[in-house]
């Protein structure tokens, strides 16, 4: 083995220019693969993050049937026991209870249908970015009861300004008519137009009082370490909840299947390109190794004549190919990992025109990178696998050579 490795290594450097060209192609491919896979991962993670942070967290806990019906009939009782379970749940970065109801809001003669979202301001900040989306005024707060924050389009449609009094009108959990006056304390800009047109935020306490809901909430939004950890958190939570409680736990992927679909399609498009890239690398390696084998027919015959076994000749050629690929991988990873880590720390903000387009579709105008362990790992395994495959033919050819044929051409 030591001998074969030494011989293989020396052989790799016989035609240094050809070796460097092959290595360069591999490095190029590795860098592109790692960079673009990380970019896609970053963009997708950002999309998920943006979505869960205006919506319902990575994982959402709600009363049984809530996800299908979304009425006040389905609820979770946020008692001390549940609060304790949520605090103790592993992998949970934060959790926020919400009450979701529907109603009409009116200013003078104008009325609009709204989704009333009651939030615990302190807890909400640990899960969603709603508070940061306030453009004018302030976010709702326990210190200023009966304050309401409106989506920008909703405020415009109502002609509502900061300080205006609005009448909120709905049906309470008790089925009695619920109505009360709220003061506009803030206007927020939401990426999703339909939300921007309909969301009205109040404090959870105000919402519970308005809907006569007591300790109940509609849902609890939980934030996990990242999107990938959602399944684990959900499973942990399902296990930790007492069976008697009629609750449901869903992940962002279950709640937003269209987002999952989009990511899969987007990835598929990228992987087609990457596969083409990898095939190009495979042919580069095949070409280099095959040429070097054909050039050395005589020499390989001499090795066989001296008593090197055919299997050892096979291994020799194989090692040469793996060394070639390994060299490309080593340099490729040494280049791409720092590169991606740098971009991960320095997201790229998009220029104005692009930014506008992205904001239209509800995305923040930045490109982010995320290096997940399977990215470089997958690249390593793919390139090594491809090199192993590409070396097969030349290695078999070399080991099948007969010493006499090799020596004949004198």
């Amino acid at each position: 083995m030591g001998l074969e490795l030494r011989l293989a290594w020396r052989n790799v450097w016989r035609n240094a220019r050809r070796t460097w060209l092959t290595v360069a192609a591999t490095v190029f491919a590795v860098v592109l693969v790692v960079f673009f896979v990380a970019m896609a991962a970053g963009i997708h993670e950002k999309m998920i993050e943006d979505s869960v942070r205006v919506a319902s967290g990575h994982v959402t806990l709600a009363g049984e049937g809530y996800f299908a019906n979304r009425t006040l009939e389905q609820f979770v009782t946020l008692d001390a026991g549940l609060q304790h379970t949520l605090d103790a749940a592993p992998g949970v970065r934060g959790w926020a209870p919400r009450l979701v109801g529907f109603g009409l809001v009116s200013k003078e003669t104008d009325a609009q249908g709204v989704a009333v979202l009651g939030v615990d301001p302190a807890r909400e900040a640990s899960v969603t970015t709603l508070a940061r989306r306030v453009e004018r005024g302030v976010f709702v707060s326990e210190d200023a009861p009966k304050g309401i924050v409106l989506g920008e389009r909703l405020a415009r449609n109502l002609g509502a300004e900061l300080g205006d009094e609005l009448l909120l009108y709905s049906e309470a959990y008790s089925l009695e008519t619920a109505y009360d006056l709220f003061t506009v304390v803030g206007v927020m800009k939401l990426p999703e137009p339909s939300l921007d047109r309909s969301l009205a935020l109040v404090t959870l306490a105000d919402a519970q009082a308005f809907f006569v809901y007591g300790e109940r909430v509609s849902e609890v939004a939980l934030l996990a370490d990242d999107a990938d950890a959602a399944d684990q958190v959900a499973a942990g939570l399902r296990g930790a909840l007492p069976g008697a409680e009629a609750v449901e736990v869903q992940t962002w992927a279950e709640l937003m299947p269209e987002l999952v679909q989009f990511i899969i399609l987007d990835d598929a498009g990228m992987y087609v390109l990457l596969v083409i890239l990898v095939i190009v690398v495979a042919f580069g390696i095949l070409n280099t190794i095959l040429m070097s084998v054909l050039e050395r027919t005589r020499e390989l015959g001499v090795l066989l004549a001296l008593g090197l076994r055919p299997g050892a000749v096979f291994r020799l050629v194989y090692l040469e190919s793996l060394l070639l690929a390994g060299l490309g991988l080593a340099i490729g990873l040494a280049t791409s990992i720092p590169l991606v880590l740098w971009f991960q720390a320095h997201p790229v903000e998009l220029s104005n025109e692009l930014a506008g387009a992205m904001e239209l579709i509800g995305a923040e105008p930045v490109i982010t990178w995320k290096l997940k362990p399977w990215n470089p790992l997958g690249s390593v395994l793919t390139i090594l696998g491809v090199a192993a495959l590409a070396a097969l033919y030349p290695a078999v050819k070399a080991s099948r050579g007969r010493p006499v044929d090799a020596l004949r051409s004198l």
């Binding site: 011989l7 001499v302 001296l306 008593g307 076994r309 007969r402 004198l410």
Partner: protein, 228 residues
């Protein structure tokens, strides 16, 4: 004691439907310690015979036995083992491993044989000194003259302590002075270490150095007898 025996060995090459009978029922027995030349005009079958004797190729008819073992009954792996442990080769074109130094080329065979590294080094130093190349041990083949390369090849062929060294026209690429020196070296190794040599040539000068001369003509043994 006979090391190698060829019984009625024939070799027919087929190229594009044309059959060439390169060897025709050749009998040859090599005894331990012999220093034998195989000579005859170009195309008489010397290389073909050496290839058959060295388990590098199969006869069309007849039988070759090495140490009593019929080569036809050996697997590819067993032939590798036989070549590694019992045979040494010297080729006309030297055929050293170009990426290895003289020392590494000589050590190569012993590494394959599994000789421990300290012993390998000692034997390499000794043999390189014996063939007069101690100074060139760290040079690669391309940095050496043809005669020097062929000396390394001879060192490589005998360092594994084979029973028989087969050399196909080892001097063909050398000038006559260098050829003579190489033959003297081989003869000395034969005398002092008892290495059995069978080498082919068509150079009368080289033929004159052999103790036994086998003459081939048109694929047959024309004469076989003691030399000068």
């Amino acid at each position: 004691m006979a090391i190698l025996e060829a019984h009625a060995v024939s070799k027919v090459y087929e190229t594009r439907g044309v059959a060439t009978r390169a060897l025709d029922r050749v009998d040859l027995t090599l005894e331990e310690g012999e220093f034998t030349v195989l000579h005859g005009p170009s195309g008489c079958g010397k290389t073909t015979l050496l290839n058959l004797l060295g388990a590098l190729d199969d006869p069309s008819e007849g039988r070759v036995t090495l140490d009593g073992r019929d080569l036809a009954e050996c697997s590819a792996a067993e032939r590798s083992e036989l070549r590694l442990h019992k045979l040494g080769f010297v080729f006309q074109a030297y055929n050293l491993i170009p990426v290895f130094t003289a020392r590494e080329n000589v050590e190569f065979v012993m590494e394959l044989q599994g000789v421990p590294s300290a012993e390998r080094k000692a034997r390499t130093d000794a043999i390189l000194a014996e063939v007069g190349l101690a100074e060139l041990a760290e040079k690669r083949p391309l940095e050496m003259s043809g005669g020097q390369q062929q000396r390394v090849a001879v060192a490589r062929a005998i360092v594994g302590r084979p029973e028989l060294v087969l050399a196909d026209e080892p001097t063909a690429n050398l000038d006559s002075a260098t050829a003579g020196q190489l033959l003297d070296l081989m003869e000395e190794l034969n005398r002092e270490h008892g290495v059995t040599f069978l080498f082919s040539t068509h150079d009368p000068l080289v033929i004159g150095k052999a103790r036994r001369r086998v003459r081939l003509r048109d694929g047959r043994v024309e004469s076989d007898g003691p030399g000068a």
